[in-house]
Amino acid sequence: MIQKKSPEEARKSFDLIFHDLTRSLRVKDELSRFWLFILIMFCIVGVWAWGYQIKEGLGITGMRDYVSWGMYISNFVFFVAVSLIGLLISSIMHLLKIHWAQPISRVAEQVAIAAVGLAGLIIVMDMGRPDRFLNVFLHGRFASPIIWDVTVITTYLFISLLLFYLPLIPDLALMRDRLKGKIPEIQYKIYKILAIGYRGNAQQFKIIYHSLRTLMLLIIPVGLAIHTVTSWLFAATLRPGWDTTIFGPYFVAGAFVAGTAAVIQVMYVYRVRYKLKNYFNDEVFDRMGKTLVFVCLVYLYFNINEFLVPGYKMKTAEGIHLTELFIGKSAPIFWFTQIGGLVLPILLLLVRYFRKPFPLTVIALVTLVASWFKRYIIVVPTLEHPFLPIQNVPEHFAHYSPTNPEITITLFAFFAALLIVTALAKLFPVITIWEYAEHHGVDKKIMFNEYEN
């Protein structure tokens, strides 16, 4: 599939690719500024709400003794889920040599970094005394899934950063070589430092490939672990709705759905904003649509297992919980998540038309929203049935409805994540230039020609 090009042609087409893929660094129009302004404003509001929460205590949220995990934890699970897409696209698909996925692996890594970073922050935001955060490390109990979760999430964040950085090094070197004078001086300096003197010779590329491969292998168990351990936070307790053995794979499957939907959103924005129609082309969207159908089918399979078997038996406590989900108070959200997040994408995306970029993006957006509510449905309704008859506490302790500061802080996570993705896109090419160029017939020697003799 790689046709050899004459050096002249290759040089020309490489110039074009480089020009297109660095456009995101150069776009500085009204819309960008407005977008940044919005994001930063909302982030400031979110941080302010957090400050208010720290001052007043968690009492300002809707959480009480019985429902002690609310929107924050749902949001946390959602972000951990989204981050798992990094594992699927930039590791598994890479290792399986699925070439169409190559241009989106950096998008997947951006999403993964933003999501897993925010997931960690959300947990801190859910703490009544975040100033004692370090105690988690100093006095953590190794028997607790919470410590495992903190460990794997930190590890995953690190690996994701490295998986983002390593393939970026040659790109940084290219920008250092070609953009001098065309971009602000500090930006250039940053590239120069981060490029760590990369010259693009065979020996260096060998190290890059070797390290990448090592990381791609390492991220598979770590990636599976982050979401499995997150599911164990629930599954390791004896609660109807949580006390099930399939929670690990169930969460992982659900994570791929959320992550795929999220990556589609970002891809679409890049395609339109940075004029990358030829890079994030119809074929990539079509394949992502198919991927979404596939992961949805897997997730549907786990959903059937998760609800049909206990629904058949209707054991006492489980029965109350399921009735609440199927026809009770939580039924509207429940059916929205099942239909919007599973049935709808599966059915629609089987039609080729809906896998075109715009329709796919809209459908994936619905799926993504449904995925968020799915986490809410996993976390909250279970806590709304305490085991005992409640004694000597106000009635509203057993119910949960998020308060305004809580919603603000939850939204903060989204804006902060978008801010991270935006910053990464403004600073670094959104597609790995050298890899893409090589796939389109440009030899590495031509990219780094100045230093090759």
Binding site: A143, S144, T151, T155, L162, I196, Y198, I207, S211, L218
Partner: protein, 293 residues
Amino acid sequence: MNKTIIAGITIWLAGLYPAFGADTWPVPEEYNAMVNPVEFNNQNVRAGRDIYDKNCKSCHGDPGNYNALPLVPPPPDASSEIMQANSDGQLFYKINIGRAAMPQFETTLSSDDIWRVITYIRKFDPRNVGKLVEEALRKGKIYALVGNNNSTIDIVAEEEVMDNTIPLSNTIIFVRARKTFGNLLVGSITTDENGRASYVIPPDMKVKSDGQVDFILSLNDDFEPVIFSVSGVQVKQPNTSVELPRVLWSTNDRTQVWLLFTYFAALIGGWAVIGYVILQIFKLARLGRNNKP
């Protein structure tokens, strides 16, 4: 299962002696006039029933139901005319000696027991209908305490007779141990004339690791159903060391070793690989410095 084996054997035996079937069963003269020494009353009928249920029911079936095993010759129903046509002495002879598939009970049952079975069989004699007044179930009560350093269960049994409570003497108390599913009959003991009994817990009893057993005491079915439980009897020393057990969701020094091992192995393994990759990045930087054009 048992029934089938017995049936198999008897059908085979019956084949060997086909002549017996048609014959009447001759009984020596001296037996004909024997009289059943056991009094015909509820207590003896009950005792006879227990023996019948254990030894005869598998072939002869439930009296009155004609559900005997289909053997050749057939074992007659206890209420049937064939059975009741026998005099007491004839029954005694036939049960003692046996014939073809009908086993002999001379060596397995005492004469007294055989007479009790006969008493029970006679309950179904049409001439005896109405002779036995069914007694109302008696009202018993059991109390018990663990005694003698957890080695006995000391029992007191009482009976309510017309608003009075009197000791329940010479009565069997059944002792059962609670299992995860159902109860296990571990023994029985008869009360003395004061209605007291001391059940010795079998020292070789196998128990759960906490060493505790729940005992359940009950009376036979002459009584209205009544039980008394003695819970948590420390039959054996609990099987715990002085050290607290290592369990999930616990403090670090009480966490299971396998768990700590898994956690730290994964942690160290993962970060070792990350460290290795970071070293590679340093190597890249060094190569870059050396290759300066």
